[in-house]
């Protein structure tokens, strides 16, 4: 299959990006300064991420759409205010996760941001579930740009006046340069920031403008270290079709009111697991010393019994040490439990720790 490129590909090239294939797209893993510098720049200034490979699914409809979507997602969508966003998942009947996503209620219906590797299948699943009653558009004509880090609000507000009045996990349409942009205050780095949905023909100029105001392009490499420090899941690593939201320790993302009566796909399994406890749970893991334990590293207890596996592991530049997430048997999931990690044939000590590794600064109550 031919590799796909986002609208910003040329801009990445002229900024000396190193590319990797990710979900069928040629994406920048890093630019000339390298992952650690890019990571730190995002934490202290403002990083720009091309996330245009992700799916932007618009579903058009009124209250009857809300009703249908409540049969799919474990959210209280009836009481979700317009322009408010929620993190959620598309699941099968066994509560296995097809994808994790952000859903925003907009005037016209809903906007759902999907993972690049899952978006076509998600579209098919949702089309089958919703039938032909609602118009759906997986919009390839729009790019998605994230801007993350403490200086982002000032930079973005100087281009799109009014975004500073958005609270975290809310969004709205804005007019800028004679076009409509959909901006949400959200992101996946643990920093304050925004995601901007913009038509492809305006995207490059928009990003150049952000760069001119002092933001810098950041690659997928730093995106991964940033999200891991923030304790956030990455589909295909922490999440897959064999993991449930309860096992992934994401019950906070399930609306409480929906747990009383269920009625969404996978609800029976979720309610059972919440009552009986899941066999394995996602945890944070901190290796002692500088050792890095990568994905698929086996986890043992102190008596040498295998109790789980790492799903993501790297060096956290802001933590200045190795960090990881993985799944362990529930009895070993308590913070400060001592575990052993098998790396290159030897076992090294590590501890279960609380997430996130890096504390976030989300903006609430500005509006």
């Amino acid at each position: 299959m031919e590799i796909k490129r986002t609208t910003l590909n040329k801009l990445h090239q002229s900024n000396k990006a190193k590319f990797v294939e990710f979900a069928g797209y040629e994406m920048p893993i890093q630019y000339s300064k390298g992952i650690i510098e890019e990571h730190k720049f995002t934490r202290t200034h403002s990083g720009i991420f091309d996330v245009s490979h992700m799916g932007q699914l618009f579903i058009y409809g009124d209250d009857s759409l809300t009703e249908e979507l409540e049969k799919i997602f474990p959210l209280d969508l009836k009481n979700l205010k317009q322009n408010c966003s929620k993190y959620s998942f598309l699941m099968n009947e066994d509560a296995g996760i097809y994808d994790d996503l952000i859903i925003t209620k907009i005037e016209e219906g809903y906007l759902i941001i999907l993972n690049a590797a899952c978006k076509d299948k998600d579209f098919e699943i949702l089309s089958n579930l919703l039938g032909s009653k609602f118009k759906m558009n997986l919009d390839n004509n729009r790019s998605l740009i994230a801007i993350q880090g403490p200086k982002s609000v000032e930079i973005l507000n100087s281009i799109i006046n009014g975004v500073d009045r958005l609270n975290f996990m809310t969004g709205n349409w804005f007019d800028s340069d004679n076009q409509k942009l959909f901006v949400t205050r959200s992101g996946y780095t643990g920093e304050d920031g925004f995601e901007i949905s913009i038509s492809n023909d305006k995207a490059e100029k928009f990003v150049e403008n952000l760069i001119e105001k002092g933001a810098q392009l950041i690659g997928l490499g730093a995106r991964d270290t940033l999200r891991l420090e923030a304790g956030l899941c990455l589909y295909g690593h922490e999440l897959n079709i064999n993991k449930t939201p309860v096992e992934a320790n994401l019950r906070w993302a399930i609306s409480k009111s929906r747990l009383l009566n269920g009625g969404f796909i996978g609800s029976k399994k979720i309610m059972n697991q919440l009552q009986d406890g899941a066999n394995q749970i996602r945890v944070g893991i901190k290796p002692e010393g500088r050792l890095i334990a990568r994905e698929k590293t086996k986890i043992y207890n102190e008596t040498d019994k295998q109790i789980g596996e790492i799903t993501s592991g790297t060096f956290g530049p802001s933590v200045n040490g190795p960090i990881a997430m993985g799944y362990v048997d529930r009895e070993f999931s308590k913070v400060d439990t001592k575990i052993l990690l098998e790396v290159r044939g030897k076992k090294y000590p590590a501890n279960i720790c609380a997430l996130p590794f890096y504390k976030k600064n989300y903006v609430k109550g500005v509006n």
């Binding site: 893993i29 390298g34 490499g221 270290t225 500088r290 790297t314 060096f315 190795p322």
Partner: protein
């Protein structure tokens, strides 16, 4: 001190008497990106030509470090274990990896000189 020689696995080596100093090349560090972890062979252990003699990890992945010649490990550079970023800063100087008392100096004959290595590095990275 002898001329610096280079291996196809991107190590450099210099010889002083029968003690060789070995590290990884600047080109290797540029390919790896930010190095955040280094593991060295144990002092007193014996390593075989082209065998693994350490590990470096960047933010992206782990890579083995090979030894271009056989010998006994007589010294290791603890400072790069304590501060792996030094490997990116000074790979062909202060950030050497280990020193070997070599067995057979003819093993160096198969290695590349600077000019040959630069050409090799350019060809293999494009």
């Amino acid at each position: 001190m002898s001329e610096v020689k280079f291996s196809k696995e991107h190590e450099w080596i210099t010889l002083e008497g029968d003690v060789a100093t070995i590290g990884i090349t600047k080109h290797a560090t540029e390919m790896l990106g930010d190095i955040v972890f280094a593991e060295l062979p144990e002092k007193g252990s014996n390593v075989e030509k082209d065998g693994t003699a350490g590990v470096v990890e960047s933010t992206k992945a782990a890579s083995d470090v090979y030894t271009p010649v056989s010998g006994e490990v007589v010294d290791t550079n603890q400072s790069i274990v304590d501060d792996p970023a030094k490997i990116n800063e000074d790979p062909e100087g202060g950030a050497w990896f280990f020193k070997l008392k070599i067995k057979d100096s003819s093993e160096l004959d198969t290695l590349m000189n600077k000019e040959e290595y630069d050409k090799f590095a350019k060809e293999t990275s494009s």
